[in-house]
Amino acid sequence: MLAAVAALSDDVARVALDLPLRANLSAVDNIALIPLYQGHYSAAESGVRAQALLEQLGHSDIALLRDPDMTPAQRFVAKLARALILKRPRLVIDRPGAMLYDVPYPDFIRQLAAQAEMTGTWEVYDFSWNQVLYNQALQKE
């Protein structure tokens, strides 16, 4: 599984433990880097876009927090927003259990996906022994 995730092509946006946020930047600055460098928007406009995405995910309160000051769930949301703003056709969440150890994560990811209203597909790669967690979340629905 790890090799398969590592070999993903450039059209995939990954959310993974091994792709951390820039520690000395706030959540909003981490996200704003993408439109700043790829979209060539101004710093102010990039910040507005990043803030809007955090609001869309229901976590605008983490905008000014830096990586060490965030809870695992907040960190995950910041990473997810960074991946979403890349606007790649596929989004892969790589072993969410390693990042989201403070929340029941299948439910958490499902809620975020509902809020994000994102085009494209979200794929979750996880260990087979965690399948039961996803089953439980599905049964609740």
């Binding site: 792709l19 951390p20 820039r22 520690a23 000395n24 880097l33 460098y37 790829q38 060539h40 710093a43």
Partner: protein, 264 residues
Amino acid sequence: MNFLATSIESLGAKIAGWFTVGYGMFAFLAQAMLLLLERTTWNRATFDVVIKQVYFTAVQILHVFLGYALVISWLIISIILSTARDFGLTEFASEMTIRVLVLELLPFLTALFIALRSGSAINTEVALMQVNNELDALAHCKVPPMQFEFMPRLIGGVISVITLAGLAGLLALLMGYLAIYGLNAAGFEPFTQTIAKIFDFRIVAGLIVKCALFGLAVTLIPVTAGIETPKKLFMVPVSVLRGMMRVFFAIVAIEVVSLALKYI
């Protein structure tokens, strides 16, 4: 015999290591220089980071640095003046002050100051970025680390050392004048003549080149040392130690070469 072979092997490995490090640094510098020439590099994002770097490296510490330059200049000028008076060489005091302080000591101390304050911070930050995979994450997001993280630091270092050394030099000239002539305007003409005599084009160009090299040394070496760090947290202090030793030797080497070119 075995001992001799081991010693030769170890020496060879060390020399090969030095060459590898040197090659890595120059290759990195060449890459940064080539990027500087590309139009796409000069986007708003990179420009903003350069401004931030200059602010953190030079503006933020300006008051502390000027205070430090003031004290050092005052002490050195007092020593030069008192020695010149003892030997009856007062007429050479202003020239000696300018040559010792403005051309040599202040740029050297400025480079050391920036190296200790910003160079060590850059080395640590880049090493941590390397260890924590932050550089890989930036690459995944197609945010070029060279343009976003490294080049602004190099440019910021060069601009900061040149401007801080220039400001310290101006302060030292003012202090020198006050120490030699006091608040009397009568000394203005001979003093400015001495300045004009010393600061010919070759000396000014040499001073700027020397400060630019100092600026590169205090940023380029820490950045490359940080990138070289193996992905193990306990290697970060080792990386900073190595980087700062290299910075020290580079600063001393630049100063020695500059003195040799000027006076030998």
